[in-house]
Amino acid sequence: MADKVKLYDIPEEEFLLPGNRMCSGCGLSLIYRTALKALGPNTIITVPASCLTVLHGMQGFTSVDKISVLNTPFATVAASASGIEAALEAMGKDDKVTCVAFAGDGGTTDIGIQGLSGAAERKTNFIYACYDNEAYMNTGVQRSGSTPYGSITTTTPIYGKTEHKKNMPKILEAHDIPYVATSCAAYPLDIYAKFKRAKEIKGTKYIHILSPCPPGWGFSTKDTIKIGKLAVETGFWPLYEIENGKFLLSNPSKRLLDPAKRKPIELYLSVQKRFKRLSNEQIEEYKRYINQSWEYIKSKNITTQFL
């Protein structure tokens, strides 16, 4: 399990320099900056078409420093990482270099799931990080498998999305990989701790990080952290890690096992423009959905805490 991290544990060395191409208030810049600090300089990152490609910019104008990045076709981020990892192992360098696939939610839950599932099944020794801004933000807010229920996007413009979010961590948990974790851009210390832990483990590691997106979700750029915290505190986005089948709720989510301690979901939904057309029935459906997901967490938590 990830060690507790204090602010002074995080190294000062920067890998993501100021002045990148992200929108102001982007959750991804925070995630990427913190994750790179945990991963260190000997890292190869594969990136499919996503907002992260925009962040990297072009050779000579990039703000990313000291690491190697490979831009891959959309569907193949995990497959490319598998190839890199296998070659590193063949050359005996896999202990020194960390191989990471960093993809968005579209590249993970939709087009990339086949490659990811294959890599997990082959027990590829790499970290797969999915930053989840809950739609195709790079092409201008189209729905993805990870878009939440009732959310207005440009391809669900009238009623909003009619299905719930795909539960990707649960799918990866079913692959029996050694480490699955969820995190959120509003908790950099949590992100740092989980990447640090993932780096120590051998095998396929999956980290799913919620990344609030001001233009896509429709909130002011100053509110990224606030929205991210609300997602966790309302119980919509539970933070947990599963190491070798052992389930552990992370600190910000621990006390939310008690439904009374969860903030009302309306607080989270009402401050985002993408949920502006939610009816009362849909909000009730949200409450049911959150309760249901916490029932699952409760059952996991109880069965594994005595292992």
């Binding site: 078409a49 490609t53 831009n71 076709p73 959309f74 569907a75 939709d110 087009i111 799931i113 195709y136 092409t139 201008g140 189209q142 729905r143 498998g145 440009t154 391809t155 669900t156 413009p157 009238i158």
Partner: protein, 392 residues
């Protein structure tokens, strides 16, 4: 196929429209009922517009999980009788090629809009590059013919999309509309004709009244000539018992291997025999022209200006424009280039895909000058310079 709520057609009149939107409206006018797509710059506006518009006409716009799923959903929709299309860009097209080859084999009618961007690989996503012209011709394994349109304005995107759907119903082969990043994003005035006029042009998917006997055969019973049967509709009696993508006769019965050549002949000759009907071209000041510009798509617009400027200087030059790029109108080009002093082919790619086709059918002693541009438009001066150099 009429619909009750009448929102299929826009009110006749002039609209300021984006190219991608004009293309989508053209598709709706010709009775589009299903769109399966996946977001990719610069074609995303098509799916965004249809997500709003298709539910209004009782259709379905479905965003799929990837390009492979999109094209296969389109195939499924088309098989059960809906007019269906997809739109994507180069990287998406390369992912879809396997299904395009399959669709060509079982002759499913569908329309494919390729909003081309600068490649190869991811390339630059918001600038044009006519680099898929060759790919569309050979999209997928196996031998088959395709039809590809190259519009040059938003009005043409609207009009040619209607023609494209008609061709799909008639010729039952992959139909491409070769748009590009600039044409897809340009805003121009589009003149929408009245509903009645559009309906006259549209060929609907219908079950022929006389379906008895040789309903799926390729041969006319009386004249024994090659003919193209109407597309079948799965779920009705007008449908073969088995749909397979192996060499087959139209009743879905597998052909023995030695008859593969016959199958190939049917697949290819149905287009080649009808090339005069299929191929659309345009001529501009060609009657006395000594220098001939052969072009398609956006470079044609610059060519018009260049020709006018050159004519003022007394140079006899004209344009032969390909509105359908594939199948390549070999015989027409052969006729046009007789006696020409030189041929200029302005294209928005470096290799000159169509220039190579022109080379194939012209005399060796006629020089062919390529004017390549990538990721940017031709300036009339670029073409004028080429004309003046040849005229010297």
């Amino acid at each position: 196929m009429s619909n009750g709520n009448g929102k299929r057609f826009l009110k006749p009149g002039k609209y300021l429209m984006m190219g991608n939107v004009a293309m989508a409206e053209g598709a709706l006018s010709s009775g589009l009922k299903f769109f399966g797509g996946y977001p990719i710059t610069p074609s995303t506006e098509v799916i965004e517009h249809l997500a709003k518009r298709l539910p209004e006409v009782g259709g379905c716009c479905m965003q799929m999980e990837d390009e492979l799923a999109s094209i296969n959903a389109v195939m499924g929709a088309s098989l059960v009788g809906a007019k269906a299309m997809t739109a994507t860009s180069g990287p998406g097209l390369s992912l879809m090629t396997e299904t395009i080859s399959m669709a060509a084999n079982i002759e499913i009618p569908f329309v494919f809009c390729d909003v081309q961007r600068c490649g190869p690989g991811t390339g630059f996503v918001t600038v044009p590059h006519h680099n898929d012209v060759g790919l569309t011709r050979f999209a997928g394994n196996g031998e088959f013919e395709v039809i590809a349109f190259a519009p040059m304005s938003c009005q043409e995107l609207f009009d040619l999309t209607i023609t494209a759907f008609n061709y799909a119903e008639t010729y039952r082969c992959p139909i491409f509309i070769l748009s590009d990043a600039y044409l897809g994003h340009i805003h121009e005035v589009v003149n929408i004709p009245p509903k009645e006029e559009i309906l006259k042009r549209v060929i609907d998917r219908t079950i022929p009244e006389d379906t008895k006997g040789a309903k799926f055969t390729y041969e006319d019973i009386n004249t024994h000539k090659l003919m193209i049967p109407k597309p079948y509709i799965v779920g009705t009696e007008f449908c073969p018992p088995l749909i397979i993508h192996l060499p087959h006769n139209q009743d879905g019965v597998l052909m023995p291997e030695e008859n593969s050549l016959r199958f190939m002949k049917i697949m290819i000759d149905k287009i080649r025999d009808n090339i005069d009907k299929i191929s659309l071209t345009e001529e501009y000041k060609l009657d006395d022209a000594e220098i001939i510009i052969i072009s398609y798509g956006l470079p044609v617009r610059a060519s018009y200006r260049a020709v006018d400027l050159a004519r003022k200087k007394g140079i006899k030059v004209g344009i032969f424009r390909l509105i359908t790029v594939w199948p390549f109108p070999k015989e027409k080009v052969k006729k046009v280039v007789v006696g020409a002093k030189a041929i200029i082919v302005p294209e928005m790619n470096y290799t000159g895909v169509i220039a190579e086709q022109v080379e194939r059918v012209t005399d060796l002693n006629i020089p062919i000058i390529k004017v390549p541009k990538v990721a940017t438009l031709h300036h009339p001066d670029d073409i004028l310079k080429a004309i003046e150099e040849v005229a010297k």
